[in-house]
């Protein structure tokens, strides 16, 4: 196969009067396959497949089962728009005691309680997260009211935010409420802990 194609290529004339110092060579002879230091040459370099050099054995090698691969940039060709749209999305309502409005946020965009707290700060600009005796608390800086983040879970119970692993929380949270500390006394944490309203 490669010998035939080589002869065809040697018969080519350049279009116009394009002279070149590049010489024709048979495929596989190093003409087309220049060594690639530092270039993004390599699907075969980036991916954990047993491909080695191009050869007729390629076909049989590819069909062997192989471990999970490193991702090639832009392959498969799924648009980034589509990929971001496919990501699961969990919108929950967020209420703040004493405030007339409800907001919504997508829990899937955060990966930790810390990020969620920052989101509260961004969303409700009057609130700040303060460090009080090594605990993070949510406070309304205008009047000093302290809030405790709570959530309603799948069973309809109101729980304190922060006691279960993040992913479990995202899974079970139906909506959020920033409750005034004074009203949160009755809420028991899901797991027993000494300080009721601390967030790790």
């Amino acid at each position: 196969m490669s010998m035939d194609t080589g002869n065809d290529l040697q018969g080519l004339e350049y279009s116009g009067s394009l002279k070149t110092e590049l010489t024709l060579a048979l495929p596989g002879g190093g003409g087309a396959e220049t060594p690639t230091s530092g270039s993004k040459r390599g699907f075969s370099e980036t991916v954990d497949l047993n491909l080695g050099t191009r050869s007729d054995d390629e076909a049989s090698v590819v069909t062997q089962t192989h471990p999970p691969k490193a991702q090639v940039v832009g392959w498969p060709p799924v648009r980034s728009y589509r990929r971001s749209m496919m990501k699961s999305c969990k919108f929950v309502k967020v209420a703040v005691d004493g405030a007339p409005y409800l907001r919504k946020l997508d829990l899937e965009t955060y990966s930790s309680y810390q990020e969620l707290l920052s989101a509260f700060e961004d969303m409700f600009t009057c609130l700040t997260i303060c460090d009080v005796m090594n605990e993070k608390k949510i406070m309304d800086s205008a009047n000093g009211t302290e809030y405790v983040p709570t959530y309603e879970d799948k069973d309809g119970d109101w729980m304190l935010v922060g006691d279960v692993p993040w992913k479990m929380f995202v899974e079970s949270c139906k909506r959020l409420r920033l409750m005034k500390s004074s009203e949160a006394m009755g809420l028991a944490p899901k797991t027993s802990s000494s300080k009721g309203s601390s967030i790790n």
Partner: protein, 581 residues
Amino acid sequence: MAYSFPEEVLEHVFSFLSSDKDRNAVSLVCKSWYEIERWCRRRIFVGNCYAVSPEIVIRRFPEVRAVEIKGKPHFADFNLVPEEWGGYVYPWIVAMSAAYPLLEEIKLKRMVVTDESLELISKSFKNFKVLVLSSCEGFTTDGLASIAANCRNLRELDLRESDVEDLSGHWLSHFPDNYTSLVSLNMSCLGSEVSFSALERLVARSPNLRTLRLNRAVPLEKLPNLIRRAPQLVEFGTGAYSAEIRSDILSNLAEAFSGCKQLKGLSGFWDVVPSYLPAMYSVCSGITSLNLSYATIQSPDLVKLVSQCKNLQRLWVLDYIEDSGLEALAASCKDLQELRVFPSDPFGAEPNVSLTEQGLVSVSAGCPKLRSVLYFCRQMSNVALIAIARNRPEMIRFRLCIIEPRAPDYLTLEPLDTGFGAIVENCKQLRRLSLSGLLTDRVFKYIGTHAKKLEMLSIAFAGDSDLGLHHVLSGCESLRKLEIRDCPFGDKALLANAAKLETMRSLWMSSCSVSFGACKLLGQKMPRLNVEVIDERDPPDSRPESCPVERLYVYRTVAGRRVDMPHFVYTMDEDAALRFS
């Protein structure tokens, strides 16, 4: 002999010509026809924003009413074009704001659009009617607010698949209370909530509203009220299609849908709860276009829905539909023209669904009008491709993505050359083709020999040598766009076919074997091409000339080299040859 046919008559005749090809032909007949035509051309299509400058367009066509411009190359969709490459629309808007006060339509694709541009549009064109931003980026909801506030005659605002920075949902409230001319609104790409009451009021005062595509944040419970206010809708896109399962919500929604007697297109369907699908059954018989490509529901639910859409012409769906679902589709939807099957788990190592080449073969056999296919799957065979080709010789677009690069025919372990060869040999009207799987130079010989109507070709991880590229460039007479990644194509074929590149819109090559020296030579010898080396490493002249470039983008232009290139884009021209020597 004096030519005495009155200009007004010629102008009137020309006014019936809408195709650019026809108008371009007319303008070449003689100088006076050129003059008459250029004064009455109302629509301009610029397929590559760098192929021409706004000044050149305006000088030739002074009375334009509608402009369509495309920016970044197609592979930008897959992150192969670095951020900041270009495609800025602002210079166009500035020039047109002065030259075309009567401009009515702007349609942009893959361009960078700023809030500044949007504001300038909203203030410059008193009769502005249509804004379509397809896969654009660079603007925020503040820019949308300017459009809403200032464009009194706006008919269409379509943000399809654009990347919008969502500062707030209040932009929608900027449409004045006396604004009633909305015909089409597509905000499906927006992340955050819009004010729902503002949306309801807008819909209620838009008697001509035909297309409404909501974003994911609009909950299902709100749909009935919206739909009831717009029973004349032709195209509707839902938000998240989920809610607690309650029969009152279901019946409310079903009743609302049943009022939409003209509904032809449905889309949206994020987060689908299957129990709510029956709400749409009453409109299914009229549906011609169904986009379920975000609906993560299983095959039985998909089949129940789709098999009721007897007049379906276009279906976009995830591979959850599986081979069995596609067989059912083939049995029910005899008018199907376009099928797109997207991967639900493109990066998974193992298949998560039972979707193979068989599904596509079934549809090709059962749907006599099928002519446009986009299909992601994990296995393919030559016999399947040959069957598809023989079943559907009138195929126009065939884009196949076998997820594993260089995957061979799974039955014979051979390359898929003969399969794709059958496609190009049988489908003589083929205009667009995307290849995948294990392919040698032979497939390109078939393509060069048979694909005479092919206009766009996408190649990845294929071929053995320059001969492959040479077959395509020398054989495909109608080729306009060629995009190649990770193929062993180098200098020889490119330089041997340099003149061909002037007959095409553009050529993209990334992770191939084209040397910097060849790029310089090409740029030097072909002054009417822009030869862009896009390389994010150290400057190309810090390496030997024989080193391959990361990416190469070559396009014909009458505007000369770009002036807005970032540091990692190098234009090869006569100066470059001197600069880099």
